[in-house]
Symmetry: D4
Subunit: 217 residues, 8 copies
């Protein structure tokens, strides 16, 4: 692992066989591998190859997030003294948020999921003020107009990483309005690309690692 | 006037003299004229021409909104039994909101200005709930990420017209993110073009006229 | 229902099962649900789930508009004293117009459909002048160059909501030229996103509600 | 002249002196020159150079269209038996339409100007039906939503050349919506670039030449 | 037929059945119909419906151009004394050029096809100088950089209509570079939208009709 | 101050007088104010107003970064036990980096500037490995192709915030290529908008505050 | 062959049969043909047609690069005294790089493949300094942020041709960020379109031919 | 100098003083400096600083190309046995071509200028066939539709570097159509950014150096 981030393989644009080979190498050298954007054929290929090569290895998948984690039996996952909130505006944000959650789990952070608090009904997010303020760092995912990170960043002191999601149609659809709105936010926050759940999760994990290290000193 | 909307002249792209001629014709035929995007030279030219031609005419200007209203002495402005809220997220929305206000005033609506309630500090807009809910129709102006109309439309039952404003820099700047976000809104609302304060005001005025007429029957 | 608008579920990007669950909840709590962008599998799943759970519930679908309405037996739809015209330029505008009609029907408005009056043959829309002027509020749908709302708004006193439709190919295709043209319109009107029939219908419904309430006072 | 089109020099991006030299060469070799986008300094420089070099030459300018025509005393302009209508939606279309008119005049066509017939008030263009139908070929200039060429092309049998004009602000401003709308038109027409009055005029002139030639045989 | 242009039905976005109904109506009222963008199912549906309803009707299709012409037995196609050249840069321009040819054939023009004369090998187009100069009006189709219309318009006196074609990949692909290049052309020409073979053909047909009429007087 | 971030006023789009008023209010209520994008007239107006109203207040400016800090005599700036590196690719990145530095100074972080290490000469950044690895969090500013953040994030374990800068001309100029490249980065990092030095600085400051707090516990 | 470049047929947008015909003609007239973007059906069709028509012809394919080379038995490939490096950032660049390699092989250059040296791990490319400096001309392929060509061009004296690849998602995805970054590069290099492996290979081949010719004199 | 390319300073976005300092350093360490995009104040500042610091230094400027070369008295410019053609379509291409010429002169290449051979009059470029074929490498500059590089690359065997120029207005103006057309070219060529004369010149210089070196072995 570089920077404590698990070796990640983006399955999109790779054959199932190529992905499986890369997973095997990572499991054998670093003890685990994370696959993103995995379809059924990829999951199948990885399972077959890992089962054949590494005794007692485990392969866990999350269908909605389209992630897969392969782990050697000896691998000891890290554990951080840091809390990350993963917040979503609606159900269509689940896949991107799930990708973020998968990498955060591998990095050892404590994760709080706060779902379905989109700003069209402002009371839902206001009701979560305590849960939001408990986090050391937050990922806030939203599609369409993507206004939720701006509101959340106005409610907490911790850093917020905004994750635009490719939902919506017409002008500004497919995450464009959300990305633009987050980059234009009147609140202080930083942004990752549309649907880049892996990047959001890993960046939040790096902040969590730094806080964990500071707490241990 | 067509549809009860005052004859409006967009000074941008016209010489002061051309604008002044058009104002004069409108004052003489309909009793008044509204100029938008008026610079100093235009104001000067209109004043001179109107003073010379129409005894006791009045010329009122709003420097910030860059509007001018010329009125013949006999002209009786309409008065509607309907209330329009004009809401802004921040001070940079003042010019566009002022253009909307100018046309609404001419159409005879009762106008409530609710300013500086941008969503980065969500309490400010929540504190205005009563004022917002008192309106028959609302114009909500916002620049940068333009999230305010979505939040307001979630708080009221009346129709909301969203007015994107050309502030902000970088990707999505100059009102692009705001326009896209409003078109993608998870709340129900309709939209006008960037900085189109006149259109927002006139459209709200048409709704106010319809409500006024219904109230009188 | 919030603001008198039926609970609406956008089936695009949801599994049939997810949509069916959301429909069931809405029917049980608010008495009905509206699904937009429903494909065959979604219709099937909703029917099965609703039939099993709610005795005597009805499920109505409109294949062209891709909408579905589920209703509990006890549910009493509202009825408004207000008339909404839904106008289309051509047959390709039928789906978007149908989505608008579906929500307006649920909100209780009286609906007039005026079809196939695109401006390339200007006499067709001129012949409908009386029908157009009878409406309290109008939705005008058009694709390609999207000029119809501008012409209609010049013919009536009531507010016009312009609905751009994703037809056309090449530069400005897929509704882009129509959206841009409507935002640039020389007539006063407000706009919703490309193919946002639901939003156009609900916004017109809010205006109709306001007029209905004013008429009743 | 190539194709009967006068030698044209686009002054934009040239120094006054460069333009003046090119004009002189054209006057000396072809008897005349047309300058487009000429500012005051260019007009001054051309006048000085031409007066000094060519006895009895004439230099005519059109301030609004920003065109200049220099002509040797012996030059005999052509005369075509063909009629071109140059139609505008509003006053902001005057510059582009003037550029078209300037080149048509040099090509010898009979020109009918039909102004201020924008579609927001549809009766104005309907009132010109006879004038429009009298033309052998039409140029129709419009900015903002640019809908006029579509309506005109539905009213006449002759070919229509659509000329988008750079007016309007916000999304689709500066002629973008007009260009896109004309390319998407439901009527049959062909298009030139934004503000390309010279090209529209020359293309109409080529059609007029062909008709003139056919009439003479 | 309006303006001598056959009633044309764009099959894209219509069901085979809808297209077939529209064809039938057109054949019954105007004697013929032209379908563009017809797939196999549409051809099948039209054939079945027309055969059943109109005795001795003919249905002709062009697979490459994806066009279909249905004609009543009594229909007498027009014949124009005018010659139109349809020029292509390469084989990928065949579909768009074929659409143009189909409408020209219905309008009665004499058509010269000049194929495969793209400018990367400049001698090919130079070798066709005589054939090009024989035309009364030209359609020039090109994809990728779309430079052919510029070169051809520099070789002939007749008007040129440029037809950009959606070939090419990467930046400017799908006809964007071709459209932009044609609108920026240093030669005089007018343009239609990407792949708008029908519009190019009908516009050339209108010019041909005007020349034909002039020749007959 | 909200979240420990000094009250910041974006002078762009405000009159000097408006900015001065806002500064005064902030100094009086929070003890200080930060102005960004300040021109000479703004600096002058702020100085005059602050000097007149607050005895012994200080006003410091940075001409290159176009920032101004006004401070009441009693104000005690915070001091954080955390180290932020501000890294630039070239001299044109100085203004944006200076804006980030100004806010970080107000938040009390220890700041390391590492300048002129653009990747076209890769040895320069490699030579700074130790300095880069000493930071708790890094801001990396770059214009044109914006590749530096990707390389730096591959060299350190701490979180990297990428700051695209509006230099460069032609396609992707004005910061567009840099923004896109940072969002597409193969390294893990988060991004702020083009020239958003204030946001980058404040976000890094929030991370520094979190680390400082963890170190103190 | 023109310019020593093998006749190349882009199979995309052609039927297998059309491609096969063009291959046959090229093999018969120039001794060989190169097909790019060949799918299975195309490979099948070409093989069948070539085998039937040209005795002892060979047909070689590269599945990953989607290229096919058909060669007449007598054909003698050229051999150049020049060395071209083909460098990739990651495995997703393999297809584009393979297309470049295929044409370079036909032009007779000596080819060095240097793979998987993306800049997120800067040591990989630094380790290849000697191999990179051995080349007479280099092609550098990269997707996502496309930073590798900039770094490589800073390490060598020979000319670098940058080849952007269509990988990545969200803003700047599909090769857009890579293309923009390469055009904005702080290093000196020239660029081809996204995925234009053939063009990159042929352009490098032209440089190699020039060097080969100079070496032979 | 790196790669034989003179140290180049882009004056745009630097103060005259900053540029002058950078020039001085370059002259003192490498014997010379090249400034691009130099305005009058920059030229003045450089002259003053260089005259004061380096006895007998020379400062040469090219007003049209906006370049400046400062040279120490001892500096011996290189001389290459290689010929580069710099070709322009029209007079507006002079500035970009001049920038390319300036760097090529410093690199020691023999330069042939071939001007005003735009493709709208195809005979002009055909007449230069011999001059074009004499070059070892060519730079071809063109604005508007940018078709000239495609035609030239079809006429020569040497590599062509295409240089798009920011002329033209409307859609595709400011060099966009030219850049897109060159990237889509049906001929083999590579491209630099809009107006990047320096990059085109330096890249051609690198090819010339390679050929020169090969000739000397
Ligand atoms: N979903 C994802 N989004 C963004 N980056 C990813 C994702 N999954 C993997 N990556 C990263 O992409 C980089 C390139 O991946 P690869 O193409 O697998 O070599 C790796 O360094 C991964 O860390
Ligand atoms: N066709 C549609 N267009 C726009 N919005 C819709 C449509 N259908 C449903 N919605 C709204 O989209 C919002 C978010 O939807 P969901 O993703 O289902 O939570 C809901 O509040 C719906 O009212
Ligand atoms: N306003 C204009 N718009 C478009 N083209 C023009 C205009 N004025 C002149 N031209 C044409 O631009 C071409 C190139 O112009 P120049 O740069 O003057 O050589 C000439 O062939 C002119 O016919
Ligand atoms: N006109 C120009 N276009 C593109 N790059 C340039 C130009 N002038 C100088 N450069 C290069 O830009 C790089 C960055 O320049 P600077 O900002 O001066 O450090 C230097 O390596 C120069 O070689
Ligand atoms: Mg959202
Ligand atoms: Mg705002
Ligand atoms: Mg339409
Ligand atoms: Mg108009
Ligand atoms: Mg072509
Ligand atoms: Mg940089
Ligand atoms: Mg890469
Ligand atoms: Mg050119």
């Amino acid at each position: 692992d570089r920077r404590g981030i698990p070796e990640a393989i983006l399955a999109d644009g790779k054959t199932p066989d190529e992905t499986a080979s890369l997973v095997l190498t990572a499991v054998e050298t670093t003890g685990r591998a994370l696959v993103t954007r995995a379809d059924e054929a990829t999951v199948e290929a990885v399972r077959t190859r890992v089962d054949a090569a590494v005794a007692d290895a485990t392969v866990d998948t999350d269908e909605r997030a389209r992630t897969l984690v392969a782990r050697a039996p000896h691998h000891e996952p890290p554990s951080l003294d840091a809390r990350v909130a993963v917040v979503t505006a609606g159900t269509s944000d689940a896949a991107a948020a799930g990708e973020a959650t998968a990498v955060l789990r591998e990095m050892g952070a404590t994760i709080d999921r706060i779902d379905d608090v989109g700003v069209a009904n402002i009371n839902r997010v206001l009701d979560q003020r305590e849960a939001l303020r408990a986090a050391d760092v937050l990922i806030v995912a939203a599609g369409r107009e993507g206004a939720l990170p701006t509101v959340v960043a106005g409610m907490v002191d911790a850093p917020v990483i905004a994750l635009p999601v490719s939902v919506g149609y017409g002008y500004g659809g497919e995450g464009d309005a959300a990305l633009a709105g987050m980059l234009q936010s009147c609140s202080v926050l930083s942004v990752v690309n549309v649907d880049a759940g892996f990047v959001a999760g890993a960046q939040a994990g790096l902040v969590a690692q730094a806080i964990d290290a500071a707490r241990r000193t």
